[in-house]
């Protein structure tokens, strides 16, 4: 396997590829290679929407070769937080990159006009995208499918109007129903006049010893399908958590004013599965099929004429656009997800921005003049749809502020206490306790998936954990996920990829690593990311914890500021940052 980096310079219209075995030897792949390349490429203090800010797409040594190693990672400077941007997507991109022969792709500069990049094996073309600029993300995908080679083995990633309009929490739609959702990669694409990237290839991935490869593969495959390691993702999917968290008093409702939603039953994973689910899909290389697709049937005339839209759903969007906005119907949630999908908006940020705005509107911090007459009220789905459309069009200062995220809008209009962001990123659907809060605050990309604090809280609900034990778990996850995300595996399969199995799988593709090597690498990747974060101005000692977190009861009861301070102190000490 040649381990190459493909460089594409949009300003100069050039591309070239460089063999960088040393880079992959040192940083393994995926997020390790991603952060290293970001350090190399991104000048200190660069405006994230300027041509100087790069986009890095990378995969790891197991992609295309082992089950559930199904992700690609994007690394960039976040237009939302102005520091580390990192986002993961499933679908087919990881495969397409593997078979195109590029483990990492660096995109620099800015194209003169609307463009898209077509990568077919070693051939890279920068093509005119004028005719699809302004077109929604779904349609743009359909059009490119008709024009580009590689049916059945290609990946098409593209932005919608939100990315073009530089909405700071615009995402990139990957193939269909998958996304580089978080932290604003869509705006970075838009700033580069980049509508889409299409990747395909016909390389094969060779292994040194086919027998050993098959042996390890079979073992990991069996563990994936035969054990309960992934059971919860099979059936109802992640949205099973709506009822679970509601019952545990951890489901953020109406902008975290409550942690259980009286109407949760109506938007539970069970309701979606029974009434709307019509198919499940998989990312290429995963036998689980966790992607749940609902059919949203709406009448457009009184004469039994319907339009049917196919909308994918998950726990997070049902929280952010459902309970968090007081939306009490599955149809309402699906409509809002569908709007985000077409516009190309990150669903979590979109929901949390709207929930902040709803509360600010309720408290008269925002006037109807500012909302241009749109009623921002809990459960008012039509109001939310037009607000989302206006966020993308930014017709006035208020909507332009919303398009910059809840942190920015609340700094401008007030209500920071209930602007639910951590590290500038709108938070995920958990108010389970201090580990979830701390986890997202200290996490490298301020995501619940950095260290799964929410699951540490849930563990603590069953068996008491001291603040120190919680911090230890967070640090352990922070570091070990750096390794897993370098492979790049789906986090749902982290139970399958024990350290032993990772070592075996790497061995089968000719990479010798010990447990000790992996530990050191995990720590090193974390440190490198923090180096970037601090360089770009992130300061943990000044990070804001919205007061709302302390007022609303969590799964572990009310969290006090003192607990958080103590945990932060322990965290800093253990990281050697005191």
């Amino acid at each position: 396997m040649l381990r190459k980096v493909l460089y594409i310079d949009l300003s100069r219209g050039e591309s070239w590829s460089i063999e960088r075995q040393d880079l992959f030897d040192e940083w393994l792949g995926g997020t390790g290679v991603g952060i290293r390349l970001l350090m190399e490429e991104c000048p200190e203090g660069a405006d994230p929407l300027s041509p100087a800010a790069p986009i890095i797409l990378s995969i790891g040594p197991l992609n295309g070769l082992f089950p559930v190693a199904t992700k690609a990672v994007a690394t960039f400077k976040s237009p939302l937080t102005s520091e580390l941007g990192e986002s993961y997507a499933g679908g087919r991109l990881h495969l397409a990159m593997r078979f195109a022969g590029h483990e990492a792709i660096v995109i620099r500069g800015r194209a003169q006009g609307p463009s898209y990049i077509s990568i077919s094996g070693g051939k890279v073309l920068i093509k005119d995208a004028t005719s699809i600029w302004g077109v929604d993300a779904q349609t743009a995908g359909m059009i490119l499918r008709e024009h580009e080679p590689g049916m059945g083995r290609r990946s098409i990633i593209r932005i919608g109007p939100a990315g073009e309009a530089l909405v700071r929490f615009a995402g990139v739609v990957v193939d269909t129903y998958r996304h580089f959702g978080r932290l604003g990669l869509g705006a970075t694409f838009g700033s580069k006049n980049l509508k889409a990237v299409v990747v395909s290839g016909t390389e094969r991935a060779e292994v040194p010893d086919a027998r050993r490869y098959r042996e390890v593969y079979n073992r990991l495959y069996a563990k994936t399908v035969q054990t309960d390691a992934m059971e919860k993702y099979h059936d109802i999917g992640t949205s099973v958590n709506i009822n679970v968290l509601n019952w545990l008093k951890g489901l953020p409702t109406k902008n975290f004013q409550l942690t259980s939603f009286s109407e949760a039953e109506k938007i539970s994973g069970e309701v979606f599965a029974d009434k709307y689910l019509f198919r499940r899909l998989s990312c290429a290389g995963c036998p689980i099929g966790c992607v749940h697709i609902a059919a949203l049937k709406t009448a457009f005339s009184p004469h039994h004429e319907f339009e049917v839209r196919k909308v994918s759903y998950d726990f997070e969007p049902i929280y952010s656009l459902g309970s968090n906005l007081g939306v009490s119907s599955a149809e309402g949630v699906l409509q809002l997800i569908d709007v985000c999908e077409r516009m190309g908006l990150d669903v979590i940020s979109a929901g949390v921005v709207l929930s902040w705005a709803t509360e600010a509107y309720e408290r008269d911090m925002i006037t109807p003049q500012e909302t241009l007459g749109v009623p921002l009220q809990w459960n008012n789905v039509q109001g939310y749809i037009s607000a989302l459309e206006k966020i993308v069009k930014a017709p006035n200062e208020f909507y332009a502020a919303l398009a910059r995220g809840a942190e920015f809008a609340s700094a401008r209009y007030g209500g920071q206490d209930f602007a639910m962001t951590l590290g500038g990123n709108e938070v995920a659907g958990y108010h389970t306790g201090p580990a979830s809060m701390l986890g997202q605050l200290v996490g490298v990309r301020h995501s619940h998936l950095d260290n799964a604090g929410y699951s540490i809280d849930q563990k603590a609900a069953k068996k008491q954990l001291s603040p120190e034990e919680m911090v230890d778990e967070i640090i352990k996850e922070d570091n070990s996920r750096g390794v897993f995300n370098s492979l790049v595996g789906c986090l749902f399969a982290r139970g399958v990829y024990t350290e032993e199995n990772i070592i075996d799988a790497l061995g089968a593709v000719g990479i010798a690593k010990t447990g000790e090597d992996l530990h050191l690498l995990g720590k090193k990747i974390f440190d490198e990311k923090y180096k970037f974060k601090t360089r770009e101005g992130f300061d943990l000692s000044r990070a804001r914890l919205p007061g709302r977190f302390f007022k609303t009861v969590s799964t572990l009861g009310k969290v006090t500021p003192e607990t958080m301070e103590e945990m932060l102190r322990i965290y800093r000490k253990k990281r050697g940052w005191s």
Binding site: F99, M142, T176, T202, R204, V207, Y213, R280, L281
Partner: protein
């Protein structure tokens, strides 16, 4: 479901007749000849994981490759659309064999088609002859032909594929 009708109703009817014929042969005390054949039993259950394609290339070529897999999962209208499972249906009178000018594809007496890679010139005539698109040229320019080995069946998590026995 377009090309998913790899197992057409007509084919099934023919097959039933063949099975009946074989059973009556058995009744006459003759030992029936059987061959194994891959069947796309439930194409509509496919979740697009490509497990079958990777199984085929992994087990038959020792690499991970989409190009070198004898079974192909295609999407019609993108992933919002339907998956189509394209694979050899083990024709009774295989046109690929008839089209092959170099004898690389050979029909055995029991109905199996064997592929002699060393004879394949990569002319692509078999590819043109198979309407289903089940035979194609792989990375090295030679035909990739399903052996009906069943390796993919074990890696399909959704019971789309089955290995059946059919009369020779």
């Amino acid at each position: 479901m377009g090309g998913a009708a790899v197992e057409s109703a007509a084919g099934d009817a023919k097959e039933t007749q063949a099975v009946q014929a074989a059973t009556s042969e058995k009744a006459r005390g003759e030992k029936p000849k059987k061959r194994r054949r891959l069947k796309v039993a439930h194409p509509e259950r496919c979740i697009g994981c490509l497990g079958c394609m990777f199984a085929c290339s992994r087990i038959n070529t020792g690499t991970a490759s989409l190009q070198d897999s004898a079974i192909k999962i295609q999407t019609r209208g993108g992933i919002e659309g339907d998956f189509v499972v394209v694979v050899c249906r083990g024709c009774e009178n295989p046109p690929c064999v008839r089209a092959c000018p170099s004898g690389a594809l050979e029909r055995k007496e029991d109905g199996r088609v064997v592929f002699h890679k060393e004879l394949c010139t990569g002319c692509g005539k078999c590819e043109e002859a198979c309407l289903i698109g089940a035979i194609s040229l792989g990375k090295d320019g030679k035909a990739i032909k399903c052996k009906h080995c069943g390796a993919c069946v074990a890696f399909c998590p959704h019971d789309v594929l089955e290995l059946e026995e059919v009369p020779a």
